[in-house]
Structures are given as C-alpha cells and as structure tokens.
C-alpha cells in the first residue's frame, strides 16, 4: 500500500487531467459549432440575398432595395424572351434525360450482369464527363460537331446534354443495382421465368426508384447547363442559363434574381423528390 501523501498526489494529478479533458472537450464543441455556423452562413447568405433582392421593385440593381414588390416576377412572366429560354431548356433537357435513361439502364445491366471484357473500363468511361473540365470537353465537342454538321442544331444540343446527363443515371442506378442480390434473378428463373422476364419483372422493377432519382438529377444537370450552349449553340438558341449570362453581359437586369429564386426552388423540390425516390428504393 502506497503512503497517504502519494495517493493524494495521484488523485490530484488525475483530477487535473480530468479538468483539462473537460476544458478541451468544451473548446472543441465551441470551435466546431462556430465553424459549422460560419460555413452554413457562407452557403446560405448569397442565396438569401438573391431571394431578398428578387422582391425589389426597383428598375435597376440597388442594395438595399428602395422599394419592395413583385415587379421582377411580373417582368419575367410577361416578357417572351424569358419564356422562350425556359421552353428551349426544357425542350433540350427532356429528350436528353430520356435518351440518357435508354442508354444508361441497359449499360448498368451489361456492366453488372455480364462477363463482357473491359466492362469496368466501360463504367469508368461512362462517368468521364463528370471529371473532364467542361470547357475542354466543349472545345473538343465543337471540333466533332463541326465535322458532323451538328453545330448550332437542336439535335446537337440534345446529344451534348445527353453526354452530360447520362453519368447521373449511370451512377445512381449502378449503386442501386449493387444492392440487388443476384439470387433474386436466379430464384425467379428457377420458378420458371426467362432471363428477360426475371430482369424486367424483378431487377428492373426494383431499380425504378433509383432510375427516376437519377433522371431527376440528370434533368437538373441538363437544365442548368451553361458551358456547352456557349460553344455549341447558335445565335437563335438561347437556353435559360444562356439568357441569364447574356442579360448580365450587357448591363444587369434585376429580373435574374427572380429567375434564380425560382430555379433554386424548382431544383430543391426536384432534389427532394430524388432523395425520396432513392430512399424508397432501399
């Protein structure tokens, strides 16, 4: 047994260490909280400012606005220029998403349910457009489109947007596919289903939420696309992002704050739908 004063020293030492740990825990909590708050503010303030500015009734940008109202929204919905741009964006995004789905879903089956040589390289190649810098990609595509006479055509824009949208569906669907055991298909086939029937009735059916989630993300990607259109689009082809760019190039039109607000709302709703779909798929 240790002498009493030794034991006291040991106890005091332990108490000191416990206090230090306590203090450092509190500092970490406080510091962590501060960082999170700053990060959240940095992310949200610009968005909040845009939303606030969209309710300015001024004809020009003023901060803070001199008067409040729905003038920007009114302009947006009454001038044909913006409506046409939105319509073109939709007209490009919808077929691009459909095409992407038609290519990506069979590709997911080929990559995950076949013995094709180099199928994993195929998967990597499929997501290239997510990795290559967009402007570099666009320049290369410009070269190709010139030769194929696709430059400044509607078909060309649909193809370019398909290339961009495709990886979204590929990635989301592949992730879902990896959670579907092969045994389900084997069980279906033993029970009397052909391979096609097992795929369509079981695997594809289980992939539908993921495919829809991927399609929503693909739509957003195409709808927001602002680089390809500048390289590959012609004079008459103004999508919504291009219209926004053009409007800021020659003097600032406060209408874009209304557009931005609506876009944010629209995208958030779509993202929520995508998230919900992926959850139901699991």
């Amino acid at each position: 047994m240790a002498p009493l004063h030794d034991r006291n020293a040991v106890t005091a030492d332990r108490n000191r260490r416990e206090r230090m740990r306590h203090l450092s825990d509190r500092a970490t909590r406080l510091g962590g909280g501060t960082v999170v708050t700053i990060a959240a503010l940095l992310l949200l303030i610009p968005a909040a400012l845009v939303v606030a500015l969209s309710f300015s009734n001024d004809k020009y940008f003023n901060f803070p606005p001199r008067s409040w109202g729905t003038r920007q929204y009114h302009t947006l919905f009454t001038s044909p220029q913006w409506g046409d741009a939105i319509w073109l964006s939709v007209k490009i995004a919808v077929p691009a998403v459909v095409l992407s789905t038609l290519i990506a879903v069979p590709a997911v089956f080929a990559i995950n349910r076949s013995r094709l040589p180099l199928r994993h390289a195929l998967q990597a190649a499929g997501v290239t457009s997510l990795i290559v810098p967009l402007s570099a990609y666009a320049v290369a595509m410009y070269g190709v489109f010139v030769q194929l006479h696709l430059l400044a055509t509607y078909l060309g824009l649909v193809i370019a947007n398909t290339v961009l949208a495709f990886p979204m569906i590929l990635v989301v669907t592949t992730a879902a596919m990896s959670r579907i055991p092969v045994e389900l298909e084997l069980a279906a086939m033993t029970a009397g289903a052909s391979r096609l029937r097992a795929w369509a009735g079981i695997t594809l059916r289980l992939l539908i939420p993921a495919i829809l989630a991927g399609a929503v993300l693909a739509f957003i990607t195409s709808f927001d696309e602002a680089v390809f259109i500048n390289f590959l689009g012609g004079p008459g082809q103004v999508t919504l992002p291009k219209a926004v760019f053009d409007s800021v190039r020659f003097g600032v039109d406060p209408v874009i704050t209304a557009i931005a607000t609506l876009l944010m709302l629209f995208t958030s709703v779509l993202m929520l739908i995508a998230l919900r779909l992926r959850r139901t798929g699991q």
Binding site: S114, L116, L186, A187, M189, R195
Partner: protein, 380 residues
C-alpha cells in the same frame, strides 16, 4: 422414398478457368429421397447444386432429371425449386405474390393460385401472412415463405443451399423440423447443401460427402457415422480421432488385427483398405473404465471444457498428437490439466480406415463459384 431414380448425375466435371471445382462426380438420387451434399467450404458441393438447378453448366458430363437430360436447359425449364441461404424473396411482392410467382408464370387460373397459396401457407404454418411484405417478417418466417415459393408449383426436385445458414441456433432447430415434416408429408425429392454435419445427420436419408471437388462417399448417416469408409469421413463427419496403427492381419471382410504402440487389438473395417491406415475412434468411445480386450490410450490432459452433461477432455498423446474425448461430466470431474491419464476404448467401437491424407494431396482446387453465374451471363 422409392427405387425410382429422380436425379442422375453422370460423370459431371466443372472447371472455373484453370481450377477444377468438380471432378467426375457420379451420383443418383431416388424419388422422395432427402440427400445432403456435405463438405467443407470449397469442396464443390454448392457448385454441384448450382449445376443441378442450372445456374452453372457442366464442363463435362450429363445431368438427368426424371430421365430427361437437363444439362443444357435454362433453370426455367428444369422443374426445380430452389431455397437460398439469404431467402431471396422478392422485396416488392407480398408473401402471397412471392408464393404465387411460379404459378403466375405457369398461367394457373387465379382461383387455383389463391387456393394453392393458402395450402402452402398452411404447410409452412404462416396462415394469415398473405398480405405481409418480406421485410415485415423474421428470418425464419422469410425462409418458410421461400420454402413455400419453391414448393408451390410442385417441382420434381427441391434444392436447398445452406437454408439454415443465416438463422440463429433456436430457429435452425425449428426450421429443421419444418423441413423434415414437409419432406415427409410431400414425399419430395430434396438435394440439400450444408457444411454442418449435425444438420446433415438430423435431416438426411443419405449423405454425399465431398472434398476438393470429388465425391468421397455416399451412404446413410448411420453407416457414415459408425462405419466410416476413410479417415476423412471419420474425422470430418463424426469428428473422430485418428490414431496411428499398423495392420497386422485381415480377419475377414469386416474385421482386422492392428498394432497400436505395444498393444495389439481387433477392430472393425468398413471401407476399402489400401496403403497406410489409421484407427478411427469417436470422441464418445473413450471411457474411464476398461473393458475386455480394450484399446488403451495414454496421454496427459491438455485442456478440459465443461459442455453441461459432458466434459470435453483434450489429451496430448505421444505419436498421435491431440486426442479429444467426450466423457460424462461426473466421470471426468477429477481430471486436471497436466495430469497423466489412461482412457479405454471397446474394440468394437474402433474402425480401421485408409489414411487418405497420407498420399498426394488432391489436385482439385478450392475454387469458389464466380460471382457471375453462367445462367445470368451475357457474352462469352
């Protein structure tokens, strides 16, 4: 069980790349028989099952079901029902729809489908669960639905791949009873894969023991347990100890005299004897009390473990390595680690076996089936 042959596996081999997963397996299963493929992992038992059901195709040989060559058929055309270890129920379908899946494909009229689903649910004791989804069921219930799904369209053969592997101990025993009862009631032909010899003992009419892609032997549980044909069967199936002995003389087709250390004794012979031999002694055959002409095993206690009514006593025996005995707990209470001890084995409980591990090791590999079954693969 009848004499009619339901499943006839003829000289079937399977190679995955350069490794032979299965080598010239020949095996017959009778109608109404419960046959278990038993073996350690990598022995080829699952590969063989997957070839019967059609997920893999044999590299050589033929498989006949009800006299029909099914080797090249798609799983859909084979009239087999399959139960998987992980249940493999369709998560987006109710219990009733899962069970009716094979009936729908066979275009049964709706009313008959409903009636059959009801019968199947009665059979697996899940009345009232029609509208549930698989995720709302326990593991044992899911496996019972899987069993009902496989049985519903009355296939010629039921194949089960470690169906109890994902269940806990209590549920396993309950499911064993369900499977046994269903096999008896329906007189179904069952091929069952497991690596658990207790399960094989409890369920099977016959057991096929596999090792390194080869069929070691096929026999009833009693024969395999009490009269093993080789050292591998003795140690793997009955967890027998293998003692080094030399053959003195054969006394007839099923007995022989052997020498163990300085002692000579008579023992039984079950299989072919060729080359080096060993004496198989089951763990419960080692006793504290001597009997006439008994085998004496001398060693020191290395470890003892209480199992309840019995105590496992592990001995270090010179020349034989570790010998494991299961002795009534009260008779082994005095045994302490490090203590020298003599245990006695009645001669009629010893079996002379060929030491199959003394020769060259098997060439067949530990090849596991590839992730991509033949049945699902596209392309070459």
């Amino acid at each position: 069980m009848t004499d009619e042959i339901a499943l006839d596996i003829q000289e079937v081999s399977k190679a995955f790349g350069a490794t032979n997963a299965l080598e010239r397996v020949t095996l017959q299963v009778h109608r109404g028989e419960f046959l278990t493929l038993l073996g350690p992992s990598g022995s080829g038992k699952t590969t063989l099952l997957r070839m019967i059901v059609g997920f893999e195709s044999p590299t050589a040989g033929r498989i006949l079901l009800g006299g029909r060559d099914i080797s090249g058929l798609s799983p859909a055309d084979r009239s087999a029902g399959m139960v998987f270890q992980q249940y493999a129920l369709f998560p987006h379908m109710t219990v009733a729809d899962n069970i009716a899946y094979g009936l729908k494909l066979r275009r049964w009229p709706r009313a008959e489908q409903r009636e059959r689903v009801g019968e199947m649910l009665d059979l697996v004791r899940l009345e009232g669960y029609e509208a549930r989804y698989p995720r709302q069921l326990s593991g044992g219930q899911q496996q019972r639905v899987a069993l009902a799904r496989a049985l519903a369209y009355d296939p010629e053969i039921i194949l089960m791949d470690e169906p109890l592997g994902a269940l806990d101990r209590a549920l396993r025993i309950e499911m064993e009873q369900v499977i046994r009862r269903i096999h008896r009631d329906l007189e179904a032909t069952v091929v069952y894969v497991t690596h658990d010899q207790q399960e094989a003992l409890a369920l099977s009419d016959r057991i096929a023991i596999m090792r390194d892609g080869r069929l070691q032997c096929v026999d009833t549980p009693e024969e395999l347990y009490y009269r093993p044909a080789s050292s591998f069967v003795a140690s793997f199936f009955a967890s027998s100890n293998l003692l080094p002995v030399t053959l003195v003389e054969r006394l007839g087709p099923d007995s022989a005299r052997v020498r163990y250390g300085q002692d000579e004794l008579s023992c039984r012979v079950a299989g072919e004897i060729a080359g080096p031999v060993q004496l198989a002694v089951r763990r419960r055959s080692l006793r504290r009390e001597p009997s006439p002409n008994c085998l004496v095993v001398r060693g020191t206690v290395a470890e003892t473990l209480l199992f309840g009514d019995e105590r496992e006593v592990i001995l270090d025996v010179p020349d034989a390595g570790r010998v494991v005995a299961l002795i009534a707990a009260h008779a082994a209470a005095d045994l302490a680690v490090g203590q020298p001890v003599e245990l006695y084995v009645p001669p009629e409980e010893t079996v002379l076996v060929t030491d199959v591990d003394a020769g060259a090791p098997g060439t067949a590999g530990d090849a596991d089936a590839p992730l991509q079954p033949d049945a699902l693969a596209v392309g070459p």
